[in-house]
């Protein structure tokens, strides 16, 4: 009885309920887009964009501009810059991301040092915080999640085709650069609406780990698109609750839980493969 009460204790707080809803939807959303992030080898872009958005978040905090507006515009501009610089093959996408996003991140840090009074909210963006979550955050993350779902369902085959075989998709009249721009925009939006809960430094993990775990459970693309958001949502939900009781940071707890799931799935997949291999060997 006491234990049960204990479990439900955090639900008495408005901020926790809001944070829980935002985190769970964020987990599902990151899991969904994460499938494309890992299959396209874009994890570094997720990492980079979150750092770029941090610059925008810091700037908007200093200039007292609305966070979504300031950081959003900043994120889109960084995304376009990355795409632009990366098109020059000599430099390469990874270096382009490195240049654009670390510069943006450094600017955010400099602003934070110079205008110390805003550092509170900047820190919240860096590490994430459940305390500041408002109802507007729920609306924001829910709309982006619906948009993401719509994009994935309606563009399913184009997304799959251009991810699997870019060249052939292009000559089969798939507008590959449009597909890529839409994906990049969705990832930026996702980072934007989830960053205040998960934080700049750990958001890219949420884009990668659930999808990587999902990949190891299945060889089917469509099934991966189900499994990855479920892992993301469940780990965020459980992680939020755990973090309250353990008095640890929400984002750190969530990511550790995701990493734990990954290790378990990895171990199981490894044994299963070995079993398959050795049974083949005896034929």
């Amino acid at each position: 009885m006491i234990l049960a009460l204990d479990i439900f204790e955090p639900y008495g707080f408005q901020f926790f309920r809001n944070g829980l809803v935002v985190a769970t939807i964020a987990g599902a959303l990151c899991g969904l887009l994460g499938v494309f992030v890992i299959l396209r080898g874009m994890s570094y872009i997720g990492h980079g964009l979150s750092h770029a958005v941090f610059g925008g978040a810091a700037a908007s905090a200093v200039m007292k501009v609305n966070y979504f507006l300031g950081a959003g515009i900043w994120g889109i501009v960084s995304g376009l810059l990355i795409a632009r610089v990366a098109r020059r093959r000599v430099i390469g996408a990874d270096a382009a991301i490195g240049v654009v996003t670390t510069a943006s991140f450094a600017l955010g840090l400099a602003l934070m040092n110079r205008y110390g009074q805003a550092s509170k909210s900047i820190e919240a963006v860096l590490f994430g915080s459940v305390l500041g979550v408002k109802v507007v955050d729920i609306y924001a993350v829910a709309s982006v999640a619906l948009l993401g779902l719509a994009v994935v369902v309606l563009g399913y085959r184009k997304l799959l085709f251009s991810t699997f075989d870019r060249d052939v998709a292009q000559v089969s009249n798939v507008r590959v650069s449009l597909v890529e721009a839409v994906l990049l925009a969705m990832i930026s939006l996702t980072i934007l609406v989830t960053m205040r809960v998960i934080g700049t430094l750990l958001i890219s993990a949420l884009l990668v780990i659930p999808a990587a775990s999902a990949r190891m459970t299945t060889n089917s693309f469509s099934r991966m698109l189900w499994i990855s958001p479920i892992i993301g949502a469940v780990t965020c939900f459980v992680g939020m609750n755990l973090s309250y009781h353990l008095d640890t940071s929400a984002s750190a707890t969530i990511i550790l839980l995701d990493a734990f799931v990954f290790v378990v799935v990895y171990a199981i997949a490894g044994t299963r493969n070995r079993a398959k291999m050795s049974s083949l060997g005896h034929l």
């Binding site: 299959l39 093959r89 000599v90 369902v153 309606l154 399913y156 085959r157 184009k158 799959l160 085709f161 991810t163 699997f164 075989d165 060249d167 052939v168 292009q170 000559v171 089969s172 009249n173 798939v174 990949r215 299945t218 060889n219 089917s220 693309f221 469509s222 991966m224």
Partner: protein, 263 residues
């Protein structure tokens, strides 16, 4: 060097004129003239790194052309079969998904419809691999992998098939089967353009052969093209050409030493 082709009052399906391509600053294709006419069956041979893949990609339009022009007949549907090493075999897709994804216009819910499933089955049956539809692409033999991508190209009912090394990494029997398959498709009216490293097993059997190394060095029937002079210019190594049953047989330098044992 312009090739002489059978006079045909229809304009070519694909016409490359004075085509050059570069990666960064290094030139890969140089001054390529090549016409592909309807119902032709053309093979391109040349050493590794000679730019065969680049030429095919320029033709299908995924490699930008630095100079010159490639004219493709309007409304032409090209079925492209990539070099099998360039495919990501760890990608989580089944054979059926690989083939169906090319049909990008769907209802709002992107499920594979019964009609699509039947169409996939028909194509796979035609290529003799009907039983692999539900397998993951990594769980296939080299010949099956090759045919899956051929099936994908066939699925959109192309006017021309462009294949990059369709017999790489398969055994003699599979190579035979693929060659016969392509010959049947050609007989049904399909135009085919392919590249190959297999001079004796594949290239010598084609009606038209192009020797290629950054540019076109010879173009004609295998009898015209497979000569020691042309091959040395193409491969940069001395090669001997024998005749066996009216067919040219190329013996490369490495194999000359063993000639006494075999034929």
């Amino acid at each position: 060097m312009r090739q002489s082709i059978l006079s045909d009052n229809e304009s070519p399906l694909i016409a490359c004129e004075h085509v050059s391509c570069t990666y960064g600053n290094s030139p890969v294709l140089h001054d390529v003239y090549l016409n592909i006419n309807r119902r032709e069956f053309v093979g391109i041979v040349g050493p590794s790194g000679s730019g065969k893949t680049t030429l095919l990609k320029a033709i299908i339009g995924s490699q930008p052309v630095a100079h010159g022009s490639i004219t493709v007949q309007p409304e032409l549907t090209i079925g492209y079969v990539p070099q099998i090493e360039t495919v990501d075999w760890y990608f989580p897709v089944t054979v059926e998904e690989v083939i169906v994804m090319t049909r990008t216009k769907t209802k709002w819910w992107p499920r594979i419809t019964i009609q699509e499933r039947t169409a996939v089955r028909e194509v796979l049956e035609k290529l003799g691999i009907a039983d692999v539809a539900q397998r993951h692409i990594r769980e296939l033999s080299g010949g099956q992998q090759q045919r899956v991508f051929l099936a994908r190209a066939m699925f959109c009912q192309p006017d021309i098939l462009v294949l990059d090394e369709p017999t790489a990494g398969v055994d003699v029997r599979t190579r035979h089967e693929i060659l016969h398959l392509l010959a049947d498709l050609h007989a049904e009216g399909l135009t085919i353009l392919l590249t190959t490293h297999d001079l004796n097993g594949l290239a010598a059997h084609l009606p038209r052969l192009v020797c290629f190394n950054k540019t076109i060095l010879a173009d004609g029937s295998p009898r015209e093209v497979l000569t020691s002079k042309v091959l040395e210019a193409t491969y940069g190594a001395p090669m001997e050409v024998l005749e066996h049953g009216g067919m040219p047989i190329v013996i490369d330098h490495g194999r000359v030493a063993m000639r006494g044992e075999g034929k």
